[in-house]
């Protein structure tokens, strides 16, 4: 099978711009989803251990719902379903201001928030109870002991899984193409349709995703080194 790959054609306009914009869209979507997912994840984890009535049950139901329904179904429900429930002028505003980006961010952000909250929760639970007892026995209050004793240890424990889920989040942004969002996969398909350079365009997309995944893994390894318990 002799492959005569022609990457030069992809450097020409308008294809090059399309691909670059696709990459930018993917990265922007990743950033927006990640911020939403981490923020909401922390909130959910804290609410869950707060001891408020029904808090545990409510968060557990939320997490279960998010994790048992595939990402595509979530995306469709938000973009095609829930959008129609909004008042008409909100719908048209959203339509004019990148509805695909907005609903993808919401759907993916909410989905990954469930995973991140579980990571944080299991991290908090892995810190031995004696640590909290020792901190409280020294006279440290609840928040002080969380901040200086429990949380540093919890972050150290949950970092590998957290990094994994960050990479999963990044891969999930590719599903936004099913909504017609102009992210990398969508851009690659558009260019492929116009140029018929299937191998070349697919390789570009694959390299993009692999490279960013690798970068995220490296970032995770650096972070893990920094929070590693000394002497280990």
């Amino acid at each position: 099978m002799y492959l005569d790959l022609n990457f030069d054609a992809l450097l020409a306009q308008p294809f090059f711009d399309e691909l670059v914009h696709g990459a930018q869209f993917s990265l922007a979507l990743f950033a927006a989803c990640w911020v939403l997912a981490v923020g909401l994840g922390i909130l959910l984890a804290v609410v869950r251990i707060s001891g408020l009535p029904f808090a545990e049950r409510a968060v557990a139901i939320y997490v279960s719902y998010q994790r048992n329904v595939p990402m595509l179904a979530h995306l469709f429900l938000w973009y095609f379903g829930i959008s129609t429930l909004l008042p008409a002028d909100v719908q048209s505003w959203i339509g004019l201001h990148g509805g695909e980006f907005i609903f993808s961010t919401i759907a993916i952000g909410l989905y990954m928030a469930a995973y991140f909250s579980e990571d944080i929760r299991s991290g908090l639970r892995s810190v031995p109870g004696g640590q909290t007892e020792a901190a409280r026995s020294l006279g440290m209050g609840f928040l002080t002991s969380i901040r200086y004793v429990v949380l540093p240890q919890a972050i150290n424990i949950s970092l590998p899984t957290f990094t994994n889920h960050t990479i999963v989040l990044f891969k999930n942004t590719s599903l936004a193409m099913a909504l017609g969002a102009a992210e990398m996969t969508y851009a690659v398909r558009e260019v492929e349709n116009e140029t018929f350079l299937t191998y070349e365009t697919y390789i570009v997309a694959t390299v993009f995703y692999l490279a960013i995944s690798l970068l995220l893994m490296a970032a995770g390894a650096v972070a893990a080194k920094r929070v590693r318990l000394p002497g280990h």
Binding site: G139, M140, T144
Partner: protein, 241 residues
Amino acid sequence: MLALSKVNKWYGNYHALVDITADVQRGEVVVVCGPSGSGKSTLIRTINRLESIHKGSITLDGTDVHSKLQNVNKLRSRIGFVFQQFNLFPHLSVIENICLAPMKVLGKSKTEARDRAASLLSRVGLANKADAYPQQLSGGQQQRVAIARALAMDPPVMLFDEPTSALDPEMVGEVLSVMKSLAKDGMTMMCVTHEMGFAREVSDRVWFMDKGAILESSDPDTFFTNPEHPRAKSFISDLRH
């Protein structure tokens, strides 16, 4: 200094502490001993409110420990507690372990806290381990750091919950000698321990507990040579064999 009056505690239907009435004078060293499951650890943990009580009262210099109005953090900063499992903070160095609470709870400055920590480390014989991490130390060394950490808060009373039970035999001595020197310096101490040699040498009073109640409270000489209560008698004779 420390007064317990008719303290009772239940775990469900199980009566864990039965009508405990006793007191600890300033400067006194009290050893609490008895068979496993007798409630010794539960009792000592109620004193700094790691466990709750259902009836009765515990007062420290007149203040009711378990009152809801009491600021529990302020109270705990005046009671030093040493755990069987040391519970040092693994993400902090030895000196950071000792300085954390004085800085965050007592508001001491970093230099103030560090100076005091350094002198306490010398006192427990670990001056050269200031920058080491807990995982790098032996059990006996870790427990001595834990004692220094508790002392850093300048508490008027120190509680020890089986401080040597988790240690290899050859390290028990180094921890006991720190505790002995504390006693000699006049610290008010309450120790739950199986180390009867320590009890005979250092304590002013021995409380013998079984099934949640204090069955006998006497001075160490009397207790070890001629205890009154029959269960105390069998406990002492079991120790000898």
